[in-house]
Structures are given as structure tokens and as C-alpha cells.
């Protein structure tokens, strides 16, 4: 009897949560903004790739005949990267958002089972992703006429794109069910995406054996696409590992949804350090009470917000910080030496450079997510109002809230300095020529760039975070804006150059405008030489100094924005002139 009523209910309203999700998304402006961003990025990047292909063919129609496969391959690869970039951001907040609003309990009180909740949330975010993938269809139509594409290849590409979306969505959902906060889920999802999806493509350049990368590639539909595009049995077989991983991720997500629905914060690392403290204190009875750094913890005399920000984390105390640094530093240093020693050519530092690029990505992701979250988290937890009742000025609140971020930058300084140091030392002592000359300047310029960039991103993300109402929105908006900031100037300049509107090598040095993107100088710091793009014989250090000056200026502007407008952004009444009484005529009209 009960079963019949349930079936009837399901038949009447088959997927209530999915319907709610889709209705909300269809009415939300953000859905369309992201869609447009995705479409513009897809079309522009594809246009640039297509222009290269046109150029290779000498713009001759006959030379382009049969090249449809190359165009399809470019488009599909772009779509894979689109999935890796957009889907974790869209999916990782679905469960954590409910947790943060404390509405997950209500959801679980309904007659929806864990599988139903999970599936409906899953499909609710996959539908917009599929509409994004669909945006590339007109491009397929435009180059299909060139020939060289079989229908089976289009079917294979579509299937693998869908599979990739299912996979990325599944593990992002799993992390959303595992993590307590959206920020944690977002960062974890992106890191996992980088390791799981992009890693297998980069692994052969980092590891000594290709077996591991081949094994991981089997789980990655993007790698499967690179191996086989012909369709048929081979693609079906190659898809099985990825399909299996989707099922496993969803099963784990379902498990975490129940077991980790109401998990309090544990701070395992902090607990571990405290247990170490207790052990060392007992051990001191044997050693005679040697204390290298006395513990001065207690209640704060000043800066209470900053005190709270740092003491609730393992980075709160100097001795904890030192332990953490040693924990990171020793294996990192050995790994860096190992990477340099085992370079293929023995004459460069390509692997180390790869690691530095990854480090840049991870550090930016962590800093932006953390800085965007500092105010947004207070707002979501509804503790911001309490904070605002204190007599602390808004500017001070923001400044003190950011102290946790500075600690994080301090920790990130360790791997950066290690890598920069090893690369600089290697260049100076083992590589000849220009690398040797550059080796001495490399460390100070790289370190300065890192400090300026991370501080600038932190203030920028904080500014974005203060203007957003929810944590998810704050973190995702900040991440997307930073990504666009890094990519758009470079793309725009390349596009203008490609279409002949400007010439990057011309007498007017348009290349200077590429410094609008923070990403421009990082490959140059790592050894890429821009030729005469910035002017004949213009010294490299001049370019780096100019870049540092420009981004320091931006850092100052963002900081100023956050500090001067803190009260307004935090929602505190801004002291100003008392409005005078309206004129009599207006009063009369009102009457």
C-alpha cells in the first residue's frame, strides 16, 4: 500500500529537487553570464586555433579540404578544458551550500532518499554543463563542410565529452558531500581535477616512467580521445575505467552524504601539533626544561579578530609554523634536486619549471579562495552582524581578517623559495651562457613577483568576496575573475595580432599591453624570451621591473578599495551628512 502511494507520488512529481534546481537556475542571471563567458571563450580560442590551421593551409580552400578532423580535435580539446574549468566550480557547492545554510537536515527529513538527493543534485548541475557543451555545435557545423570527419568520430567525441562531464561532476559532488565548506570543496575539486584530469597529460614530462601516466590516462576521457577517435569497440572498452570511476565516485558521494552531513570542524593538524606540545612538555622534564620559543598564547591584548583568525589554524603559533615549514621543506627540497638532476637533456630545468607552474596555480587558487572567503564566511555563518556590533572600525576588521591570508602566503613562500633557489643555483652553476647570467637575477625577481602577485590576488579576492552575499558566489566569482584577468589580455592581444589589427612585432610595442595579464611574465621568468617584442635590446630586468611596478600599483589600488570602503561593503552605516528636510513643495506633493 505504502509502495503504491510512493509510486504515485513519484509519478506526480518525479524529481522535485531537480525541478527546483532547474527552475532556479533558469531564472538566475548567473547561469546566462557563465554561459556567455563559456561561449565567448570557446569561440575565441577556437577562432585562434582555426586561424593557425588556415595559415598553415595558406588560406587555400583546397588545402583546407579534409582538415575537418583537426578542427574537430581542437574543438573537443577546448570543450574538455571547459569541463575541467567550469564544472568543478558549478558542482562542488551543491551539497556544501545546503550544509552551510543548515538546510541539508531539512532535505534529509523529506522522503527523498540519499540516492535521490544526490542524483537530482547531480543532474541539476549536469544539465547546464551539457547546454554549454552544446554551444560548440555551430562550430562543428561550420567546419563539417571541409570534410575529413566521419560521423563515428563526432559520436565518439560527444560520448567522451559527456563521459568527462559525468566523471568531473561525480567527483566534485563527492567532494561536496565530504567537505564542510564550499571553499574546501571547491579547492579540493580543482586540485583533484588538475591531478586526475590534466595530470596524466603532464605526467610523462614529470615522471621517469610512462606506465603511471598510461594507467591514469585510461581513467581520463580526454586522454582516451587523444588515443582513439574512431569509435566502435575500442572506445567502448577504453570508456569502461572512466565509467567505473563515475559509479565509484557517486557511491562514495552517497556514503559521505549521510556520514559527513553534520561533521564538526576537527582541525586534525592543529590537534596533532597540540598532542606534540603535550608530549614535548612531558619530555622537558627529562631534558631539563629547554624551551626554544616560549608559548605566548592566550587572549589577545589587541587585534582580537586577527588573533582569532590565526589561532584557530595550525599557522597560529610560530613554533607550529616552523614545524609545518620543516614538514614541507625537506621533501620538497629533495624532490626539487631530484627533478633537476634527472632532466632529460641534462642542460635545462624543464621539469622544475613545470612544478613551478603547478605551484603558481595551486598557490593562486588557495590564496584567492581563502581571501574571497574571509568576509563571505562571516556573512554566511551570520556572525558578521555580531562582529559589526563591536567598536572596531570596518577597515581594521578587514585588515585583521586578512592576517590569516598573510600567514598562508608565508607558508607558500617555503616551496616557492625552495624551487626558485634550486633553479637559480642550477642555472648559475651548471648552465652556461644567458642562463648563467640570468641565474643571479632570477631569485630576487621571482620572489618579488610572487609576493606582489599573491598579495594583489588576495586583496582583489577580498574585494570581490566583500561584494558577494554567499561564500560559493564569492569564491567562484573571484576565481573566474582572476582566471579571466590572466587569460583575456593575452588572448585579446593575440587575437588582434592574428587578425592584423595590431602587430606585436611592429614599431609600436603593443607587447607592453600583454603585461595587463599577470600571467605574462611568469614564463619569461622561467626562461622564455620574448625576442624584440618589447623593443630591440630592451633588458629583461627592465620588463620585470615595469611589471612589478604596475602590479604593485594594482595591489595598492585593491588594498585601498578594501580599506576605504570596508564599512560600506561590510554593511555598516557609513557616517555622512545628515539629510536635510525636504523642501516644502515636495512635502506638499507628498501630502
Amino acid at each position: 500500500m505504502l509502495r503504491w502511494s510512493r509510486i504515485r507520488k513519484v509519478a506526480e512529481s518525479p524529481m522535485p529537487l531537480l525541478a527546483k534546481e532547474l527552475i532556479e537556475q533558469s531564472a538566475r542571471k548567473r547561469t546566462y553570464v557563465i554561459r556567455i563567458v563559456y561561449a565567448v571563450l570557446l569561440f575565441v580560442l577556437f577562432g585562434l586555433a582555426a586561424r593557425d590551421l588556415f595559415r598553415e593551409s595558406g588560406y587555400r580552400a583546397i588545402q583546407m579540404m579534409g582538415t575537418g578532423r583537426s578542427f574537430l580535435s581542437h574543438l573537443v580539446n577546448l570543450q574538455f578544458y571547459g569541463i575541467f574549468l567550469f564544472l568543478p566550480g558549478m558542482m562542488s557547492g551543491v551539497i556544501t551550500y545546503e550544509k552551510e545554510r543548515e538546510s541539508l537536515a531539512l532535505l534529509m527529513l523529506t522522503d527523498l532518499g540519499p540516492w535521490e538527493i544526490l542524483f537530482q543534485k547531480y543532474i541539476g548541475r549536469l544539465v547546464p554543463m551539457f547546454t554549454f557543451i552544446l554551444l560548440g555545435l555551430p562550430l562543428v557545423g561550420s567546419f563539417y563542410a571541409l570534410g575529413g570527419i566521419e560521423t563515428s568520430e563526432i559520436v565518439t567525441a560527444t560520448w567522451l565529452l559527456c563521459l568527462s562531464a559525468l566523471q568531473v561532476g561525480a567527483f566534485s559532488l563527492m567532494f561536496s558531500a565530504w567537505c564542510r565548506t564550499t571553499t574546501a570543496a571547491l579547492v579540493t575539486s580543482y586540485l583533484f581535477t588538475a591531478a586526475f584530469c590534466i595530470g596524466p597529460m603532464a605526467l610523462p614530462r614529470l615522471y621517469f616512467s610512462e606506465y603511471l601516466s598510461s594507467f591514469l590516462a585510461a581513467f581520463n576521457p580526454a586522454c582516451v580521445y587523444a588515443k582513439t577517435t574512431s569509435g566502435g569497440i575500442s572506445v567502448t572498452l577504453w570508456s569502461l575505467p572512466a565509467l567505473g570511476s563515475v559509479i565509484i565516485f557517486l557511491a562514495m558521494g552517497k556514503r559521505f552524504l549521510r556520514t559527513r552531513a553534520f561533521v564538526p570542524p576537527k582541525r586534525r593538524l592543529l590537534a596533532l601539533f597540540r598532542r606534540q606540545d603535550a608530549f614535548l612538555k612531558q619530555f622537558n622534564a627529562v631534558t631539563g626544561g629547554i624551551v626554544l620559543i616560549p608559548d605566548r598564547s592566550g587572549l589577545p591584548e589587541e587585534d582580537p579578530v586577527a588573533w582569532r583568525e590565526v589561532t584557530k589554524t595550525p599557522l597560529g603559533k610560530i613554533n607550529y609554523l616552523l614545524r609545518l615549514m620543516l614538514l614541507v621543506e625537506i621533501p620538497l627540497f629533495l624532490a626539487a634536486i631530484g627533478l633537476v638532476m634527472t632532466e632529460y637533456s641534462g642542460m635545462g630545468h624543464e621539469r622544475l619549471t613545470m612544478v613551478i607552474y603547478i605551484l603558481w596555480g595551486v598557490a593562486t587558487l588557495a590564496i584567492v579562495a581563502r581571501a574571497a572567503d574571509v568576509v563571505a564566511s562571516e556573512r554566511t555563518r551570520q556572525t558578521l552582524d555580531v562582529l559589526l556590533t563591536t567598536p572596531i572600525p570596518g577597515a581594521d576588521i578587514v585588515r585583521q581578517k586578512m592576517s590569516g591570508v598573510w600567514r598562508m602566503i608565508l607558508v607558500l613562500l617555503i616551496p616557492f623559495l625552495t624551487m626558485f633557489g634550486v633553479e637559480g643555483f642550477w642555472s648559475r652553476n651548471f648552465l652556461g651562457g644567458e642562463a648563467e647570467e640570468w641565474g643571479a637575477l632570477y631569485i630576487p625577481f621571482s620572489t618579488a613577483t610572487m609576493l606582489v602577485y599573491l598579495a594583489m590576488f588576495a586583496w582583489f579576492a577580498n574585494w570581490v568576496g566583500m561584494t558577494c552575499r554567499s561564500r560559493t558566489r564569492a569564491v567562484s566569482t573571484a576565481l573566474v575573475l582572476v582566471a579571466l584577468w590572466c587569460v583575456v589580455p593575452l588572448l585579446a592581444m593575440r587575437m588582434l595580432d592574428g587578425f592584423g589589427i595590431i602587430s606585436l612585432d611592429g614599431p609600436f610595442r603593443w607587447s607592453w599591453f600583454t603585461l595587463l595579464s599577470p600571467a605574462t611574465v611568469i614564463p619569461m621568468l622561467e626562461g622564455a624570451r620574448p625576442g624584440n617584442a618589447f623593443g630591440a635590446d630592451f633588458p629583461m630586468w627592465g620588463i620585470f621591473l615595469a611589471n612589478l611596478a604596475w602590479h604593485s600599483f594594482l595591489l595598492y589600488i585593491f588594498r585601498l578599495l578594501c580599506i576605504l570602503r570596508a564599512d560600506r561593503y561590510l554593511g555598516r552605516a557609513v557616517p555622512g551628512p545628515v539629510p536635510s528636510a525636504p523642501p516644502a513643495s515636495v512635502q506638499g506633493k507628498a501630502a
Binding site: 533558469s26 546566462y32 580552400a61 579540404m65 547546454t131 555551430p138 557545423g141
Partner: protein
């Protein structure tokens, strides 16, 4: 023992295949050599040794690498009575020496079809100088120079590229077509040496060959020359010919900086490059922007009004599909507008207003199918069409039928191209050129040529090769007059190297936009390589007059200084005795395809007129 006998019998059976036809003789060109970058003659003597008549089609194919065949097969209808024999002729375009060719008969065409490989392989050589032989004449055995049977002289001037000069000691017995071909060849620039006949007197020619009876040692006929030598067949040796001013030609292969240039590489690459998509980029960009607006803001506004995710999703999918269909249609339309035939022609007059034409053609199809290419057959002249597919990389699905009203049938898939070379006689304007003042060989700036009524109004370029100089000309009030500056002809060699570099490294893309808007300029770049090829070769292969290595100067034997390019090698003239005039203009109507299924046809022609000093 029994096994051994069976094996021998099996081998004997396999070694002697039961074949309908047999190739009894193979004759490449006129003297056993083929000329690079030109149409060559291949003469085969077929024998039917079976007891049944053979009636069917034979195909000549080129075998290359692992492919069944390369290029397009040439077909010819053959009938042979039992035990009968006959000559058949094909026209080949040879890309290299030692090519493998096969004559196949039966339903299948290819390496493993019924047929026979040609036992003689072609070898490159200069255009030939041959003594014409009467068939079956006993005198042939007395000749000490290369002879050629007159009964297999080609029936069209277009097949005589490999013939440089002819020595005649008797009036040949030719049917009108062969006679016309011979006269055309002579008017085009051939050299005829008339020597004593067996009776010790110059032969007497009749009919339209009676002009050979003139009692002069040397006189012009059209662009050709007739020379009379008081020599008998028995006295005819290489030294005697050289003494009589009839020097031979040699072929040199040049492996210059870019491996030697083949003119067809330049011409085909250029005519292919005119095939380009003409997409309406303005409309396409507008559609893309409209697409962004509809999938973004418009969809959002409608979603706010409808509050129904199904309708917004359906709208999104509909917009995407509509944009896909629209862009696909525009893409196809853009390619569709490129369907065209582009050609570059080289024409030498054989009579007033009649030209022996070589055309480098490229056709681009936007719909798949079997296309038949044919050129018009002008009235009051013997028509003959020779096609060559000129490709060594692929097997062309199709067939070439050379001869009167010759055709080239080719299967062209969707969005594909088909290049070919065509040779034949065509009617064009009578240029009516006359030299008003003969220039100094060292400084030809005094040259002036009067143009006839049929001379094109708009010409692209005009050049004169005088001695070793290359003199640009301009048209002024019905005359071609020399410009103030000129250059050495050898500069063309560096042009060719530059072209080669462009071809190798695809740097033609620099001039994309100009080429799109100004094809005349791109055609103009092909004129100088063509001139180099026409006067004796300046690329991978070039011709030299055979000279003594040492000359007497002031009573001493000194090393001869070889010129870099023999600009008058093919004319056989001394510098200053003739002018090679080149005029580039748009192709006249008569030079176009008989039926053009592609709609557009664009082409330029370079007229090459050799003006001889009286």
C-alpha cells in the same frame, strides 16, 4: 622425376602467359629519349599472335611504388586481325627518367591486369634531331645519324615537343594530318635540314610542302628555319653536321640550391592557389554575435517571463541547432562560390590566328561526380587534344582519351581538385607582329615592334629575349617599344630559385589578400619562369648547344667561356638573328573548355612569337 617434369611444365606455363597482344617494339620520343616537362611521344608496335581478332581498349598506365598505377590511364581503341601488327601512339608526360609503364588490356586496369610492362624505360634527353626514313627503305641502314620512320610521325603538332630538327633527303609520303602536323611544327619554330637525295640532288617537294624547294641555303618559314646542305645521306655524320652549322643539343640537369625547379610545380601551385573559399565573414560574425545574444540575454529575459526551465532549455537547443544549420549552410556556400577552372596557357603561333597551346589547368569541384573535360575543335583544321594528368602521387579515377575530340574523364569527389596539362591547336587573335627596327644584341633598347589589329588591347606584360638580354616592352600607340632598362636573362634562374623557396616553405601566404583581389599580379609572377622554360630551360633541366670545348683565338687554342644560359639553344640561331617575344594577356574565348560544368573559368595566356631576321 615425374615431379620435376610437372614443375618444369608449371614454370613453362607461368612463364608464357596466354596473352591477346604482344608489344613487339617500343619507341620513346623521336630518338629514344623523352624531354622533361613536355609532352612526349610513345610509339608501340603491337602484334596479335593469337588466332582470333582483337578488338578492345588498351590502357597505358604508369607504375610507381606500391600503387596499382599513378596518374590517369590513357585509353585507345585497338583492332588487330589475327597475326596482324600495327603501330599505336600515346602521349606521355614524364616526370623522371627510368619510369615504369605498362600497357594493359581487358576489363581491369592496373599493375596486375592483363597486359605487358614496357621493356624499355624512358630516359631524359634533349629534343631530338632525326633523319626521316621511308618505311621499308634499304637506305635506312646506311644512315650514321639517328633515323625516324616517317610513317609514325605524329598527327598533331602538339606531340612534337620532343623534336628539334628534321633532316630530309626525300619528300615524305604523308597523309594530310601528318603533313599538317609537320608544317605546324616548322611554323612553330622547327628546323628542317634538306640534304641531297639518293640521286645526288635536292629532293623536290610538291603541294603545300613546295616551299622547301627554294634555292637558298637558309630561309625562315614562320618561326622555323629551313637549311639546305650539300650533303648526302652517306656523308651525314655528327662532325659533318656541325661543320654545316647544324650543331646538336645537350640536356643538363641542374641541382641548384633548391633541388632544381620544375615549371609545372610553379604553374600548378599558382593556379591551384586561386581556388579559395569566399565566406561572407561579415554575415558569419553577425550570426555569431546574434547567437551569443540569443543564448544569453534573450534567453534570460524569456526565462524570467516564462519561469519554466523546459521552455528555456528547448529555446536554447533550438537556437543552437538553428545556428549550426545556418553556419553549415554559409560554410558550404562559401566553398560553393570557389568552384572554378583556373588556367595558365602558353601559346605559339603555327599560322596567323592559330596557336599550338599548352595549358596548365586546375578545376575545383563542389559537388562530387564524374566530370568530362573537352576543348573545342576549331573548324578548318585537324583537331587533336592531348591531356596529361601530371600526377605521380595518386591514381586518378578516370580515363584520358587523346585524339580528335579528345576527352579527360575524371571522378572528382566533393570539394576536390583536378589538375591537368592540355595540348592542342586553338584559334586566337592574329597578333600580326612585325619588327620595325632590329635592335643591337648588346643593348636592345632600340627595339620597336608593330602590333596587328588582333593584338590584345590590354596586356599584362611583354618581354623580348634578344641575345642574352631580357628586355621589358610597353605598348604605346599600336607598338611594343622597349623600356629604358633591361637585364640579363640569367636573372630568371634566381627567380626560379625564389619560386622554389616559396613553394617549399609556403611563403605564398604573405600575399593572400592581394592574390584574392588581384589574380593578374599572381599570374604575372608565372611569366618569367615560363619564359625560362620556353627558350631552353633554366630550372631543373636546361638545353645547351654542343660546342667545341676549345676555340682558336689569335692562333691559340683557349678554353671556351660557356654561357650560363643558351637563350637561343632551341631556335638554333645565332644571337641577333631572332627575337623571342613574350606577350601575357587574358585568355581569349577560344582557349576555354568546350563545356565548363564549374561556371567560372579564369585564365591568362603567354604568347611566344619567334621573330626571325630576314
Amino acid at each position: 622425376m615425374r615431379t620435376l617434369i610437372a614443375a618444369v611444365a608449371l614454370v613453362a606455363m607461368l612463364a608464357a602467359p596466354a596473352s591477346a597482344l604482344q608489344i613487339a617494339d617500343v619507341q620513346w620520343g623521336f630518338d629514344g629519349h623523352v624531354v622533361p616537362d613536355r609532352v612526349n611521344l610513345l610509339t608501340l608496335r603491337l602484334v596479335n599472335e593469337t588466332g582470333v581478332p582483337f578488338k578492345g581498349t588498351v590502357h597505358l598506365i604508369k607504375i610507381e611504388g606500391a600503387a596499382t598505377y599513378v596518374g590517369a590511364p590513357q585509353a585507345q581503341e585497338v583492332f588487330l586481325t589475327p597475326g596482324g601488327t600495327r603501330w599505336i601512339q600515346f602521349y606521355t608526360w614524364n616526370n623522371r627518367s627510368e619510369e615504369s609503364w605498362r600497357l594493359s588490356w581487358g576489363d581491369r586496369i592496373g599493375r596486375f591486369s592483363a597486359g605487358e610492362d614496357l621493356q624499355k624505360q624512358p630516359k631524359f634527353g634533349p629534343p631530338a634531331r632525326v633523319l626521316l626514313n621511308e618505311p621499308g627503305s634499304l637506305l635506312a641502314s646506311r644512315a650514321r645519324v639517328i633515323t625516324f620512320p616517317e610513317d609514325i610521325f605524329p598527327v598533331t603538332v602538339s606531340a612534337t615537343d620532343g623534336l628539334w630538327s628534321v633532316i630530309m633527303d626525300h619528300p615524305p609520303r604523308w597523309e594530310p594530318a601528318r603533313r599538317e602536323a609537320f608544317l605546324d611544327w616548322l611554323h612553330r619554330g622547327g628546323i628542317v635540314h634538306v640534304i641531297y637525295g639518293p640521286d645526288g640532288r635536292f629532293p623536290i617537294f610538291a603541294g603545300d610542302m613546295a616551299f622547301l624547294n627554294q634555292d637558298k641555303d637558309r630561309y625562315p618559314v614562320g618561326s622555323g628555319r629551313v637549311l639546305r646542305h650539300k650533303l648526302r645521306r652517306d656523308d651525314l655524320t655528327e662532325d659533318a653536321l656541325v661543320d654545316a652549322g647544324c650543331r646538336g643539343l645537350s640536356l643538363e640537369s641542374s641541382q641548384s640550391g633548391y633541388g632544381g625547379i620544375r615549371p609545372e610545380e610553379i604553374f600548378f601551385t599558382s593556379v591551384k592557389s586561386f581556388t579559395r573559399a569566399e565566406h561572407p565573414w561579415g554575415i558569419i560574425f553577425t550570426i555569431v554575435v546574434a547567437y551569443f545574444i540569443v543564448v544569453g540575454p534573450v534567453n534570460f529575459l524569456l526565462a524570467r517571463r516564462w519561469r519554466d526551465w523546459r521552455r528555456t532549455t528547448i529555446l536554447h537547443v533550438s537556437v543552437v541547432v538553428a545556428a549550426c544549420v545556418l553556419l553549415a549552410w554559409l560554410g558550404r556556400r562559401g566553398l560553393g562560390e570557389t568552384a572554378a577552372v583556373n588556367s595558365f596557357a602558353y601559346a605559339r603561333p603555327v599560322a596567323p590566328g592559330v596557336y599550338d597551346v599548352t595549358q596548365y589547368v586546375n578545376a575545383f569541384a563542389v559537388s562530387g561526380g564524374t566530370y568530362t573535360f573537352q576543348y573545342p575543335s576549331p573548324k578548318d583544321m585537324t583537331p587533336h587534344s592531348i591531356f596529361a594528368s601530371c600526377v605521380d602521387e595518386e591514381a586518378v579515377k578516370g580515363v584520358i582519351r587523346n585524339g580528335p575530340e579528345g576527352t579527360f574523364e575524371a571522378d572528382m569527389p566533393l570539394y576536390s581538385e583536378r589538375p591537368w596539362v592540355w595540348r592542342g591547336k586553338m584559334k586566337g587573335p592574329d597578333l600580326g607582329l612585325e619588327v620595325e627596327s632590329w635592335p643591337n644584341v648588346e643593348d636592345p633598347r632600340g627595339l620597336s615592334i608593330r602590333c596587328g589589329g588582333g593584338f590584345p588591347e590590354d596586356i599584362m606584360q611583354a618581354w623580348a629575349v634578344v641575345g642574352a638580354k631580357l628586355q621589358p616592352l610597353v605598348k604605346q600607340s599600336g607598338r611594343l617599344v622597349a623600356e629604358q632598362s633591361n637585364e640579363d636573362f640569367t636573372n630568371i634562374s634566381s627567380d626560379l630559385d625564389e619560386n622554389r623557396r616559396n613553394l617549399r616553405y609556403n611563403s605564398y601566404s604573405h600575399g593572400d589578400e592581394e592574390r584574392k583581389t588581384n589574380p593578374a599580379e599572381e599570374y604575372g609572377k608565372m611569366v618569367r619562369p615560363l619564359m625560362g622554360w620556353a627558350v631552353g630551360g633554366t630550372g631543373a633541366y636546361r638545353y645547351r648547344i654542343i660546342r667545341a670545348s676549345k676555340v682558336e683565338e689569335a692562333g691559340k687554342a683557349v678554353e671556351r667561356q660557356e654561357p650560363t644560359v643558351d637563350t637561343h639553344a632551341l631556335s638554333g640561331d645565332n644571337p641577333g638573328d631572332s627575337i623571342d617575344l613574350f606577350v601575357a594577356a587574358r585568355c581569349p574565348e577560344g582557349f576555354r573548355l568546350l563545356r565548363n560544368p564549374f561556371g567560372r573559368e579564369m585564365g591568362y595566356v603567354v604568347y611566344h612569337v619567334r621573330l626571325l631576321k630576314p
